[in-house]
Amino acid sequence: MLNYIWFALMIIAIIVGAINGTLTEVTNAAVDSAAVAVEIALGLIGIMAMWLGIMKIAEKGGLIKILARGIRPVARYIFPEIPDGHPAIGAMMMNITANWLGLGNAATPLGLKAMDELQSLNPVKDTASNSQITFLAINTASITFIPMTVIAVRAELGSANPFEIISTGIFASTCACITAITASRLLQKLPGSHKTDPMLNQTTVKEEKND
């Protein structure tokens, strides 16, 4: 699916650019975006290193296991493929909590740590497992309790009550999150997705070498 979307974005951009006479802007945007992508990725190094270090201590100290055991009942329902008490569950829980608290800087490294733990259970390394997709869905539609950025914009532009969108935001983001999780669990049953389920294709591990 990403192949199609990526292709469509590119082709539409160039065709529309040609018609609108914005091809120069399109070219500049391509070059600039590539540079921005590298800046963003490199900017993650410090914070990634810090949280991966801390998480390693949490892992060795057994805290991640304790967390994982604590939310076993919920986790078993949403992530049936993950073995009980696996560190992936503890890491995911920390990521989700960080998201809820609006701690974006901590949420991403914790989320990537969780993704890495999920990858250790995934037999086909270049293909997303069902658990990884559900976890991604939780993050692409994460519940936001305090959308700080937009509140700041509202305050700056003279809102009488910049915070009044908190409740509507919680409602909308909760709906989005529940839908995304449900969709991820339902769509995995579609023939196209079922056929490529890594857990059912354990024998085709030759792909692993490509990683």
Binding site: M1, L2, W6, I12, A13, V16, T22, V26, N28, A29, A30, S33, A37, V38, L44, I45, G46, M48, A49, L52, G53, M55, K60, G61, G62, L63, L103, D116, K125, A128, Q132, L136, A137, N139, T140, A141, F145, I146, P147, V153, R154, S159, N161, F163, I165, I166, S167, T168, G169, F171, A172, S173, C175, A176, C177, A180, A183, S184, L187, G192
Partner: protein, 186 residues
Amino acid sequence: MTEVASDPLFTTIMKTVSNLAIPFLLFAIVLTGFVRKVKVYEVFVDGAKEGFDVAVRIIPYLVAILVAIGMFRASGAMDWLVALLSPATNLIGMPAEALPVALMRPLSGSGSLGIVTELINTHGPDSFIGRLASTLFGSTETTFYVLAVYFGSVGIRRGRHAVAAGLTGDLVGVLAAVFICRIVFG
């Protein structure tokens, strides 16, 4: 629900918890590790080593996604998409002005924030459009960015139904935002 959540008290509590969460977490993790005889410094360095690799591993995925989205935005194709979809969104009571926010949100965080700021500036933060745009922005994440970073960090190229699930969530988020804003801010 509106009354409770709009209360500055709720905000104050959430902010306090957010501010204390990281120090508390660091304290708890390092202390537990130390008490359980983990060589905290050595283990930290060992874990931190991977930080660089992870960041570098993300680069190709992020370049691919951001370049395609950047080109799409620069071409002006978004205006066409808005024109195409606005008859449908008018039906559900969504002002055409707010549609670009909903369409841009999954693609670009800074892009959609720019549109929201412009809308708030033009229509006022306490207008219906201003409130709806704010809610739309706060209701979901930048789906394609999250996808590139999270899957890129472990080298996943085949996302299967991940995009579909994420976009379904985004779509319902938009519908829910319009619905709740109609009721609360009518």
